[in-house]
């Protein structure tokens, strides 16, 4: 399968390679294989409808830029305004600090970033206030690139992904978009509805499964989520799915017993899988403030997080919390959600992300 390739490409490059016909040729199993029989006709037609949606290179990049425009105008225009025609003084640093904090970067990380710029200004004897923007950009880029790792799935199947997070951050929607993206490459996807707690969560995931043409493994509401995970792994293996994605119920990271439950779902999944999950993604809402740090810390005590999905970047939220997450916890951001459409889930690319911020 082409999964590794699919997930290891950066946003821009990926867009160019997407229409590559080889991907179709490499397809081991034809569309109408044995497993297709499990889908209803409606599901199948909806699935293929989704697949025909064209994703052009311009489309992807434009969407990313569009999604980031608000971040950019809020963030960089103000820096530009501040830096225009003046010397480097204390007020300047104070104002930079203010801007970073207003972007939810957080006090500690902001002070660190400003401190580093301050130091460079001193040691490199920089007097031009216009150079400050370049310095800040470089610092942010460095910080985000340091531990950057794209979403990479292994060659062995089924590749297994688990999605966790607090309530209301957009886990189910993210799974829908991710499944859509994987289906674009004609891979077979199984979704495990292990959010058995929230009212109608299973139905929400079912709608997505039908939309993108993925199989759904679900029990009743209130069922044991570990049991759902168990069956999902079994089904993914039996139907030789390429990718298994397990949805979990939103839970506050401070609820000890709910976190223990999550740990159990993870353990059951790895046991049935016979190996570790390939990705355990923490979904973080871009409007979240400093609490995201606490979320990431406590979730990683129950399950080994491999990365962050930052959602709702299409609002006015600056998403600066990812700088704090990268700085303090060294957790890489893997995917970003930049809109409500199915294709609005992008690879996080620190360079184009920073560039899009500054261009």
């Amino acid at each position: 399968m082409m999964l590794r390739k699919l997930f290891s490409r950066g946003g821009k490059k990926e867009a160019k390679v997407m229409p590559d016909p080889r991907i179709n040729d490499d397809q081991v199993k034809p569309e109408g294989g044995a497993d297709a029989g499990l889908l209803t006709d409606a599901e199948r037609s909806q699935g293929s409808e989704a697949n025909t949606e064209e994703v052009t290179p311009q489309g992807l990049f434009a969407r990313l830029k569009q999604g980031l425009t608000k971040t950019r105008t809020g963030f960089i225009d103000r820096i530009g305004q501040i830096l225009a025609g003046r010397g480097i003084d204390e007020d300047l640093f104070d104002e930079l600090e203010e801007i970073l904090i207003q972007a939810d970067v957080g006090v500690a990380t902001t002070l660190e970033l400003i401190g580093r710029i301050r130091q460079r200004v001193e040691t490199e004897r920089i007097t031009d206030s216009n150079a400050i923007q370049g310095l800040l950009k470089a610092e942010i880029k460095d910080l985000l690139s340091r531990d950057h790792q794209p979403l990479a799935l292994p060659d062995h199947t089924p590749a297994a992904i688990m999605v966790v997070g607090v309530n209301g951050v957009g886990k189910t929607t993210t799974i829908g978009k991710l499944a859509y993206r994987i289906k674009q490459n004609h891979a077979k996807v199984v979704l495990g509805a292990a959010d058995t707690f929230r009212a109608a969560a299973v139905d929400q995931l079912r709608v997505w499964a039908n939309r993108v043409g993925a199989d759904l493994i679900a029990h009743q509401e209130g069922a044991d989520p570990s049991a759902v995970a168990f069956d999902s792994v079994a089904a993914a293996k039996a139907r030789s799915a390429d990718v298994l994605i397990i949805d979990t119920a939103g839970r506050l990271h401070t609820k000890t017993n709910l976190m223990a439950e999550l740990g159990k779902v993870y353990r059951v999944t790895t046991r049935e899988l016979g190996r570790d999950l390939d990705e355990v993604l923490l979904v973080v809402d871009a409007t979240t403030g400093q609490n995201a740090l606490s979320q990431a810390k406590l979730f990683s005590e129950s399950v080994p997080l491999t990365g962050i999905v930052l959602t709702k970047l299409d609002g006015t939220a600056k998403g600066g919390i990812i700088l704090a997450l990268a700085n303090e916890l060294r957790l890489p951001v893997k995917l970003i959600g930049v809109g409500e459409q199915m294709r609005d889930l992008q690879d996080f690319d620190p360079i184009s992300f920073t560039e899009a911020l500054f261009n």
Binding site: I101, V166, G168, A199, A200, G289, Q290, G315, K318
Partner: protein
């Protein structure tokens, strides 16, 4: 030190400062710098913080320092008072229409908790003898209507739904339905939307125009960061909100959003929502929120709870024992019994300042079933063992484990925890003794 709480940081800051007659510029500045950081870390909006600090400074400089307080305590006292008054002083209620039905519209960003909170609000009114009706006007998110229907079943309140038609029509029909079916309150659950989505914001205006709601409530996630301000301002400008419900307060977010929203809109925070259970809706307490934002924990609530359940005599004995370092497993069990009377442990721990934030403290964040096991273990010991746990060797451990239906490892863990606790108490009482010698120790809660 992003997670250090304010009181301990101030303690550090003020170690060298001595109480003077009046607060000087310097005292106030030193204290307020820490307060400013605490507020920013609590996600209070930057501009709101700036404003607030300026106001407090004006009031604090030249202020008489009370004999019993250090300058730092004095500043915190002023900060706390200002914060409380800024957040609304008294609690607000939902105003009911003179001619029913009262129409309540729930609005907010995606994922802020509108649907769950709608259910909680319905239950709240039902408990007061009203006959609420829930209206499902979220036609966008998959299965949102279904979610409200399930929530309605949970609280046993009827849900009006029309599938995925125009939300304006749904709202109108729901009100008409309420009139003919004798429902005196209609709660309209709208779809989550971005405040900059003109089309969807326009839809809310349309709903407002067509049903004339008595209350438009903005639902705000307490974990929201700096964005809380622009969200609240946009919703307020376009719709004119009447109040705010703060959700997910059972997490460990400091909830600076509450202050931001109140400061920029001037609209009261009417309820605080916590827990995923349907009865998790509480009246908002500005004073408690103030100390939570400041990182002082919800000490007031804790004190109240403790006062209601703690046996004062026993507490006194216990303190005395701690001082003399004569704390035994028997006292430990006594203490556990007292704590258990106060309510679920995780909630209690959340109220203690700095608790749940410090790594080593989180080992204590056990759930209630764990408590029962501990009690069983202690009860399986002989009186002698409880008084002098050092005599417990391998054979005694096996007996205790068998007697309490636990394992030797658990007995070991308990003994280790007990020793740590004793160690901690020793340190505390030493600190206290040093503090008495007049080193300017700063203990806000004594």
């Amino acid at each position: 030190m992003p997670f250090a709480n304010l009181s301990s940081r101030l303690q550090e800051t003020f170690r060298k400062l001595r109480a003077r007659g009046k607060l000087t510029d310097k005292d106030v500045d030193t204290a307020l710098r820490e307060v400013r950081l605490a507020l920013l870390e609590a996600d209070v909006n930057y501009l709101v913080v700036k404003d607030f600090i300026a106001k407090v400074k004006e009031r604090a400089v030249g202020h008489q320092v009370l004999a019993s307080l250090s300058p730092g305590q004095q500043v915190i006292k002023i900060v706390n008072e200002e914060l409380t008054s800024l957040m609304g002083g008294t609690q607000s209620k939902i105003s009911l229409a003179s001619k029913p039905p009262t129409i309540i519209m729930m609005v907010g960003l995606q994922g802020s908790g509108k649907t769950t909170t709608s259910g909680k609000l319905a239950l709240h009114f039902k408990g007061k003898g009203h006959r609420p009706l829930l209206a499902a006007a979220d036609i966008y998110r998959p299965a949102a209507v279904k979610q409200l229907i399930v929530v309605g079943e949970q609280v046993n309140v009827p849900v009006f739904s029309m599938g995925e038609t125009n939300p304006v029509d749904i709202a109108k029909a729901a009100v008409a339905h309420a009139k003919t079916h004798g429902n005196d309150i209609v709660i309209i659950d709208t779809a989550g939307r971005l405040h900059i989505d003109t089309e969807l914001m326009h839809e809310l205006e349309e709903i407002k125009r067509s049903v004339n709601p008595h209350e438009i409530l903005l639902i705000v996630d307490s974990m929201t960061g700096q964005e809380a301000v622009s969200v609240a301002v946009s919703f307020d400008q376009q719709l004119g909100i009447d109040g705010v419900i703060l959700t997910k307060l059972d997490g460990d977010a400091r909830g600076g959003a509450a202050l931001s929203v109140k400061a920029v809109t001037g609209k009261p925070i009417k309820f605080a929502a916590m827990s995923e259970k349907m009865d998790g809706l509480e009246v908002f307490h500005p004073d408690r929120m103030a100390s939570r934002i400041l990182g002082m924990g919800d000490v007031l609530s804790l004190i109240e709870k403790a006062e209601a359940t703690f046996d004062e005599q026993k507490a006194k004995e216990l303190t005395e024992k701690m001082r003399r370092d004569a704390f035994t497993l028997e006292d430990f069990r006594e203490q556990l019994a007292q704590i258990k009377k106060m309510g679920p442990l995780d909630q209690l721990l959340g109220m203690i300042p700095g608790m749940g934030k410090l790594g080593q403290m989180r080992d204590l964040a056990v759930d209630d079933s764990h408590l029962k096991r501990i009690e069983a273990i202690i009860s399986s010991m002989t009186v002698e063992e409880r008084r002098n746990p050092d005599i417990i060797g391998g054979s005694r451990k096996r007996r205790i484990a068998a007697g309490s239906g636990t394992r030797v490892q658990e007995v070991n863990r308990l003994l280790k925890q007990f020793n740590q606790t004793r160690q901690m108490m020793k340190q505390f009482s030493e600190m206290e003794r040093r503090g008495r010698k007049g080193k300017g120790g700063f203990n806000l809660f004594r």
